[in-house]
Amino acid sequence: MGKYYQPEIETASRERILEIQNEKIVRQVRHVYENVPYYRNLMEQRGLTPDDIRGVEDIHKLPFLSKADLRDAYPYGLLGTDLKNCVRIQSTSGTTGKRVVAFYTQHDIDLWEDCCARAIVAAGGTNEDVVQVCYGYGLFTGGAGLHGGSHKVGCLTLPMSSGNTERQIQFMMDLGSTILCCTPSYAAYIGESLAESGYKPEDNKLKAGIFGAEPWTEEMRQEIQKSLGIRAYDIYGLTETSGPGVAFECEEQAGMHINEDHFYVEVIDPDTGEVLPDGEKGELVFTSLDKEAFPLLRYRTKDICVLNRKPCSCGRTHVRMSKPMGRTDDMMIIRGVNVFPSQIEAVLLKEGYTPNYQIVLDRVKHTDTFDIYVEVNPDQFSDLLSQIQMMERNLEGALRTMLGISPKVHLVAPKTIARSEGKAVRVVDKRKLHD
């Protein structure tokens, strides 16, 4: 196997890529118009028919989709084919209100796995590699995506899922894993655990890692590369578009190539919706070009990025996106899980607390810490310490059920949460990701 998984498309000329996109967008829009009444409605409100979209230069005419649309249309409203043609769902963590359920036909799974396979080959993967996948398996797209991609490349795949670091290390050392797939914070944690067990970076057989699902810095890349003795590559994706593999890093480690034969990318001004020129910072918007089951057109990711169309020395011709530099909403990514302050608020109200709280995020030993300070309810205050501590444990349990990850809850006295201009400061993020 060479340097590319699908060389003819990954290194195609810009003219050829445009040709493919033009051809696919016409079909995709027609498919959506005919099969997704929700989106057809949006088009009709703008007086659009599929005939108005003759190529990617017309995409800007199409209405945007956002998470709010996904919520309104939950669960089947954006489905583009009969359920009987679907073979899989994947989903984000979170509340029913915020949960995204994406559907896949076998065709959709194939192209998703192709995207992940491109990422693995770009990281140096061949059918001789042993790929250890310690993204979570299940509804989360991380495990399934890299697992499928690894199969496509023909690697020996270790479906470890997340957690149980001792076992991860045992398999890694015994079976000689060469490529590690997980969140960057977990990779850093594995690196530390290896050192604590007395292993040196050269003791493992790893050569590369594909790390995504949460933001990470260049400094973190250097640390992971040093502690594991590997090259660390970023990968980007979201459940709405399929999962990881929408974009991936090559040997240059300078931006992620977007798989433009499957996704048309735009960067817009988040306030006006105006498409911005290349090189300007704005919100990433993706249009799927050849999906059957869950074909989202102009989906607003809320991730802030910059596009770079300069030719890449790796030979790939697809546009590169920067690491996400922030969000247009208040979503936090904590240990790879998407969390909204509103979810926390909902739990507090349901459990009888005031919505006065403060979230403090930090990173200790490469792992996100997640603390929530909550004002104790005067009616619930007890002179018994055990009762107050039980209130904290109960609230932690309710939050874990809602969020999928465990915060540490600290009850504090009423009216002690810092307020600025009368409004509580909800989130204090000390992780300093974008220095």
Partner: protein
Amino acid sequence: MAVIQLSVFLTNQPGEFQKALDHVSGTGAAVRAMSIAEASAFGILRLIVTKPEEVRASLLADQFLVKRNHMVAVQMDDHAEALRPILRLLSEAGMNIEYMYSFTGTTALSSYVALRVKDYKAVEDILLQNGIRVLNDEDIQL
């Protein structure tokens, strides 16, 4: 019977304890007994004071979270086995002690324990029936 205890929620930060105690001195009350239960982010200050209602009102007016409850305050003899008969009576009656602390009185070598129990009246009855002296609010004023 029984004596009133004030429990004050203290956020774990320098100055909080002093701020709470200022309300005791500010109302001209005296502290008879005091104990703190500590957790990571907060503590619970427990106070037996001479003017519980005034101190409570003063704390509440300053946004403190205050809870009032009754403690069984038992006079102890000054010898090594003094607590034994009290604990035996409670255990025979199947009654738990949630927490306790000891304090001294105004006369030389007089000592007391304050017991937090679920049903303070029932505990007092048992102790009184067995000739054990318990304090009430008037005793605290002395």
